[in-house]
Amino acid sequence: MAETIGFLQPKQAVITRRREIVADLSDLLPEGCLISDERGLKPFETDAFIAYRRMPLAVALPETTEQVAALLRYCSRYGVPVVPRGAGTSLSGGAIPQEDAVVIGLSKMSRILDIDLFNRTATVQAGVTNLNISEAVSADGFFYAPDPSSQLACTIGGNIGMNSGGAHCLKYGVTTNNLLGVKMVLFDGTVVELGGKALDAAGYDLLGLVCGSEGQLGIVAEATVRLIAKPEGARPVLFGFSSSEAAGACVADVIGSGIIPVAIEFMDKPAIEICEAFAHAGYPLDVEALLIVEVEGSEPEMDAMLASIVAVARRHGVATIKECQTAMEAAAIWKGRKSAFGATGRIADYICMDGTVPLSQLSHVLARTGEIVASYGLRVANVFHAGDGNMHPLILYNINDPDDAARAEAAGNDILKLCVDAGGCLTGEHGVGIEKRDLMLHQYTQTDLDQQMAARAAFDPQWILNPSKVFPLEGRPAA
């Protein structure tokens, strides 16, 4: 494919010193923690945004915060760009390296350091997976609330980088609402602690700035997160509709009525078929759109909330309502939903959009999305966090066909612009990465971006951290 998204030109001074840099880095790490041969580097050339690939200079897999600090101290001294990587599940290319960059992968830093049930916090290394946190406290009746669909694999460090959301964030908030503190290594190797076990820290909310900064303000090595008590019960219910627009309008009406269930997820017919094929969850196959609505609490609480949701759904002509009967059914419903993107691989390659719109615009944007994708001669599957208005059209295409790929990318850009024009934003939870970087000026003015870049430069004056991402390459401050 002719690449439309560019990367920074690799620094020749770094490339020519490659051998020396590799030798120096290997002195900073234990054996088996540095990858520098061409074969071994290849699998790190991309993440889950596979249309774009760049080979890294080297991949460092530190085991301790001190090693992360030593690596950054070295890289900043010699102006070597650094790309942080968690589990490499980014859908926006956040972890894609570049030829002159050292990837710092946190995958070996996967220990849970402290679980404090009394204060309801967990402190973990950045490479711990999202789900591991919940699993570690599940027997004690707690969980970590933000649940990106990739929670099985994605790391808490990556979640912080992208301020990740998830199905259950409608009620519990996204990463930033559940993050209490980080131990972060700055560009020059300085280790700082932001926040702590308390809900708010004195002074500036730097933690809020760091959360969602896509690895550009520092590398988070440890994080302290909130634990939430598990509800008494939880029940996902399936609502089938004869059109996507009706389902979209129903979502807006539910939220508009002041009802906040734990989750409202949307799937259109193509997405239902894809997910059913993988999870055998019993999704209705004879509807055009499906909402998975989860309520939780005591039985009477769930019954009451469900009754009011059913009343709203009936006003929107709901065709089928299916309550799941067993915990196994509930697990299958969520497994299907959370595997939706991967399961799409069964039928086609895809790029996944992440625009977020006001709920009043949901039906309109859904309809327009279908038209846009059709106008490029492609197909779309929609599966997303409807309650948050966080849309994920999956544009289906054939990655081996350059023309198809170009059309998919163009359709994606049109959809994201549509979301912004409808009063929404480019990204709800996947981050800007490289994917949406060049659309940032559709969302912001140059002045807005200048201010954001000034904040970035305060943390990383050399711009060595994940430098090709987030900000359009044009209009950056001169080096």
Binding site: P43, I50, L152, A153, G342, I399, N400
Partner: protein
């Protein structure tokens, strides 16, 4: 994922198959999370996604395997946890099979590796040789510590550690013949005798024959059958594996054609996974493709077959079992509930240890070839099993039995031994 193969490359049916597999992968990374080696080592190169990428790069470039690639493919346990996790339906098993054959063809291993692999391939699949080796191991055991300190003999020292203290005498259950049902005949099955299992633990097939005949099933131990070929298959020694497969296909179809067969019953899930794949392994062999597919369709794990017999519910026995699902059972054959339901119905309390999806580190010859990773996985597995405080451990694969038994004092038995006991057989030894 995007692939780059030329039409000439795709003319090779093995490459064409691998290309189709690679095209399904969307690089989502879910597989990394349930991969035992990634969880242990924290390096993507030791994860399914990393290996898929390494294999893709090697095949696309028509390149001989190199040390780096081989190192990471060799560390794969073939537990197939990734295929259970993968939402896209990537057929990792056949991709890594292809890679192993490619490695075997294009890569010259260091002398020590070649020696160890040749010894394993020449001994393990042959019960008589294996028995002799184990007896010799008994004599050599005092030297195990010394051997493990010598680079060339280190692996043999590891083997000595794994060898059982005593070798049971040859069992009648492994001799070809027909075992008649004790009651009205309700079925007829062939039972895989196999290679290592009858030498290490003949009680398993003895219990199987007792249990099946008690419930009216005629059991045939076919003349001419032998090792299923899995051991050499996983080493990439394809000709040897296909030879084993053809020999077994012939042996079982002879029995089927003589008196009909409802199933080919397998009591080692590792073998079951391979026999169920005979149809695929021999798909390009015009003389055997159809026959092998027939055998694969007949192949059943013992618990799959027992589940069709509707065994009566037994009274509670007050015994708690930790059920260890072998990877070849849960990931290879996707059999997850049948063994536990059978045990519960037979009156046992059954518990699921945490991290049940993770391999115990046995994985065929893995505990011999990759002792460090294997030992870590064993310790983790034993910790999780012991946390359920069971009276005994039940599982369906001889490899896991040997591996886990070497790490815990809790007795470990094959599911069918416990079922035989529950349905009138003698109490298994070791309980």
């Amino acid at each position: 994922m995007q692939t780059n193969f030329t039409p000439a490359q795709l003319a090779d049916p093995h490459v064409a198959e691998s290309e189709a597999i690679l095209r399904k992968c969307v690089h989502c990374g879910f597989c990394t999370a349930t991969c035992p080696t990634y969880v242990t080592l924290g390096d993507e190169l030791d994860s399914p996604r990393g290996r898929i990428y390494l294999i893709k790069d090697m095949l696309e470039n028509d390149r001989a395997a190199d040390k780096e690639t081989v190192t990471h493919i060799d560390r794969c346990l073939s537990c197939l946890a990734c295929t259970t996790t993968c939402p896209s339906g990537v057929d990792y098993m056949h991709l890594v099979d292809h890679a192993r054959v490619h490695i075997e063809k294009t890569y010259r291993r260091p002398f020590k590796d070649r020696l160890v692999r040749s010894v394993l391939a020449a001994v393990l699949p042959y019960p008589q040789r294996f028995r002799l080796s184990l007896k010799a191991a008994g004599l050599a055991r005092p030297f195990a510590g010394l051997m493990k300190r010598m680079p060339l003999l280190k692996t043999f020292g590891v083997m000595l550690d794994l060898a059982p203290g005593s070798v049971p005498e040859p069992s009648a259950s492994a001799i070809p013949g027909v075992h008649s049902p004790k009651n009205k005949r309700v079925g007829r099955v062939a039972l895989l005798s196999g290679c290592a299992q009858p030498v290490l633990k003949p009680e398993i097939n003895e219990a199987t024959i007792r249990l099946l005949t008690r419930f009216g099933v005629e059991v045939v131990v076919s003349s001419g059958e032998g090792c299923c070929g899995a051991l050499v298959h996983h080493m990439g020694r394809e000709n040897q594996a296909l030879e084993a497969a053809r020999r077994n296909v012939d042996a079982w179809l002879k029995v089927a054609d003589e008196g009909g067969l409802d199933a080919i019953v397998i009591t080692a899930s590792g073998c079951g996974t391979t026999i169920k794949d005979y149809g695929h392994m021999l798909r390009l062999d015009p003389d055997y493709a159809e026959k092998a597919a027939r055998v694969s369709a007949l192949a059943k794990d013992i618990t799959e077959y027992l589940a069709t017999l509707d065994l009566p519910e037994q009274e509670a026995r007050g015994m708690t079992l930790a059920y260890h699902s072998a990877c070849s059972m849960q990931h290879g054959q996707k059999i997850t509930t049948a063994p536990k339901q059978l045990l519960k119905r037979a009156g046992f309390l059954v518990r699921d240890p945490a991290e049940g999806h993770l391999c115990c580190g046995s994985a065929g010859t893995y505990n011999i070839l990759q002792p460090e990773i294997s030992a870590k996985l064993k310790a983790r597995k034993v910790r999780n099993i012991e946390a359920t405080k069971p009276d005994a451990i039940a599982t369906g694969n001889i490899g896991c039995i040997t591996q886990i038994a070497s790490g815990t004092k809790i007795p470990i038995l094959h599911t069918v031994e416990l079922l035989d006991w529950a349905y009138g057989g003698a109490k298994p030894e070791g309980l």
